[in-house]
Symmetry: C2
């Protein structure tokens, strides 16, 4: 059966739901719905009711993931994202992909394809990591150990287990990924970057989610009076940090891949006074790329820099890797499905990596997964300034619906 053109989403209904959801935990233009906060729980119960009202089989599970399903006996596609936010977040980050799932399930029901198309719409708990990043998707995919849940706590020091109990979730059913029934994972998300806007594309088809490696560099020298000790007699950790970081920038530029990005986001000198030669410097370097080979090459170059620097013996340089997240490739057949859907409605589109992490990163380890991005105005996210035009929001949902048509066409 060729389903192309059969699923027509309802723009007004989509926008109304997004705007209603944005009222929960509303700030000025953004939202504050950190995981398991009152606002987050209110949003999840609102969603549960919206799903039930629309005729979906709706459930909230033991970690607060909200599920809405149609055609549960058949193979189904998961359409997921998250309704929790960072402390001062935007109205679309996560919510967009969740409401897309609801809207597409409703559209399937309205179009009378409830026996042909299986949809499992989910809002995952705590993608933003208030307690534990990607808590909900990792629990759903059975990646989470009891120890990890026991260790989870929020910045205010509340234990995750206590928070789940407080939210009345612990006696709810557990719901897991079923790799026989779940044939694909789709996630739509705002880009959180400036590329689609700059290239005037409405749709980004995500090739993969970058791997992240983070390094802490510590340089130990000796504190000295910055007036009385000649330059040649100093063990100056500050000057060393500037020189090393300059070489770091040149080195990663020299061995980067097409999608590589890097950052020196933190630096501190001790004791940190204008008239004291720094005894110690601490820096955080981060590198990201889709390709583990590129990351290996960059990492190896950083270790070489450190070894060379240590050879003078005057100061001690120590590099420690503090984060190592593997790149996640998206499924190419599934991505082509999104590409076709964008072409079918004549929407300008581009292939691009995701520089940020998403629940799709977890799913890519288990079932074919793909993502689509819609533009973020001025590339803003994790801020109240985050926004996307109504037109782009509507096009994104229609393209995602188009990819569902493609998947279930035979």
């Amino acid at each position: 059966m060729d389903l192309r053109g059969q699923l027509k989403i309802k723009p007004d209904r989509l926008m109304r739901d997004l705007r209603d959801l944005a009222k929960i935990g509303k700030l000025t233009t953004g939202v504050s719905r950190t995981s398991l906060s009152n606002a987050d729980l209110e949003a999840r119960h609102w969603l549960l009711k919206r799903m039930a009202d629309a005729g979906l089989k709706s459930t909230i599970d033991t970690v607060g993931n909200v599920h809405g399903q149609i055609n549960t006996d058949a193979k189904s596609v998961i359409i997921g994202s998250h309704t929790d936010s960072v402390p001062v977040g935007g109205w679309l980050d996560g919510s967009l992909g969740v409401i897309y799932g609801l809207e597409i399930a409703r559209t399937v029901l309205e179009a009378g394809y409830e026996n042909t198309i299986g949809i499992h719409a989910i809002s995952f708990m705590d993608e933003e990591g208030t307690y534990l990043a990607c808590l909900g998707s990792r629990k759903f995919c059975q990646e989470l150990s009891d120890d990890e849940i026991a260790d989870g706590q929020n910045p205010a020091g509340e234990q995750l287990a206590h928070a789940l109990d407080r939210a009345g979730l612990t006696s709810n059913p557990e719901i897991f990924l079923d790799s026989n029934a779940h044939i694909a994972y789709l996630e739509a998300h705002i880009e959180q970057g400036p590329r689609l806007e700059a290239e005037r594309k409405a749709i980004g088809i995500v090739t993969g989610i970058v791997g992240i490696r983070r390094f802490r560099l510590e340089i130990r020298g000796e504190a000295d009076h910055a007036g009385t000790v000649p330059m040649s007699m100093r063990k100056d950790a500050g000057t060393a940090a500037i020189r090393f970081s300059h070489r770091f920038l040149e080195t990663v530029e020299g061995c980067k891949g097409a999608d590589s990005v890097w950052n020196v986001g933190f630096v501190n000198f001790e004791p940190g006074a204008a008239n004291v030669v720094p005894a110690k410097a601490e820096l955080l370097y981060e590198i990201r790329d889709l390709d583990a080979v590129v990351l290996d090459r960059m990492e190896s170059a950083i270790h070489d820099l450190c070894e060379t620097a240590n050879q003078t013996g005057l100061l001690q340089y120590e590099i420690t890797k503090t984060i190592d997240i593997t790149p996640s490739a998206m499924d190419s057949a599934l991505s082509n499905n999104i590409l076709d859907a964008a072409k079918n409605i004549g929407s300008p589109h581009m292939m691009m990596p995701s520089g940020a992490g998403h629940d799709a990163m977890v799913f890519a380890r288990h079932i074919p997964s793909a993502m689509l991005f819609i533009p973020s105005i001025k590339g803003k996210s994790h801020s109240e300034a985050e926004d996307t035009s109504e037109k782009d929001i509507i096009v994104g949902c229609q393209v995602l619906a188009g990819s569902i048509e493609g998947i279930f066409s035979t």
Copy 2:
């Protein structure tokens, strides 16, 4: 009258006084005698009594400067330094020069030259700047306005005026420099650096006290997600700070003078997270040299760097000069006097700048002034690790006594 060889200081008495003074506010090996603390006041009253016991006309003035004079009717040489310390300081920083003054006055009396040689020994208040740097010497030289005293406060927030009142000093006499009677200022001090030790010299004759210019650099860019924004689209204040500082180091190296030193002692990135492109960087640069022409050249090069950096227009660079201390030349005739005294007793010596500030900096603006340094073991100061060998302490005092012989020989 040729006085050469007439003043023989008493090493045991000198060392006993230094060690007794070091018991007041004693830590493990160092002292804590911040200005107007109980320990500082106890030390000043101990000194007042030591001076009186030795036959000096002793007075404590309205800001806590302790004065001990012999031959008050004649021309006199001021021998001064300070008995206050930094919070965790060494036992000789300041105290050395003060006890030298006491020892030399006693030696003059013992040698029967009280009608030939005039000595005015002083311990100045707050050279270290707990309330107001060089408070005592600036008050004595009438450089201090009532407003400055009213504004002075310590890090705990105590007003200077309140502290002087608490110490019972306010009704004491005011004592000022008399440029008719005071013919010279001499100050002996530990080097607070490693040069004399490295060059195996017992005496440093100070050519001048370096000028200090301090600059605050602020770079304003834009915060961005360190994963989603391509390198070419960032306004990265962190990368800019590393590149600018690297050029700063190359530039000052390229236009330095023989005695120039510089420091990048403080740096901060905002928001300061590994995964956020820095929106703002703040750095403190300091340059020091004896020669204002060299400082001008360096400062001009720094402003050129800033202007060039601003020409791209992507980020804003702003340089603000926060400190500008003029270099203080020491009096060459007086310095030659110290040089002759060192030669006369066969002591290895060298000419050198002072990279740190001293009360002599204030006096150089009013009367001929000179300084001598003795070695600091491993160059340590402003720390309990500060120390000098007994032998070097004794040689320093004898050389200073020799320079007094020279000044009053006719």
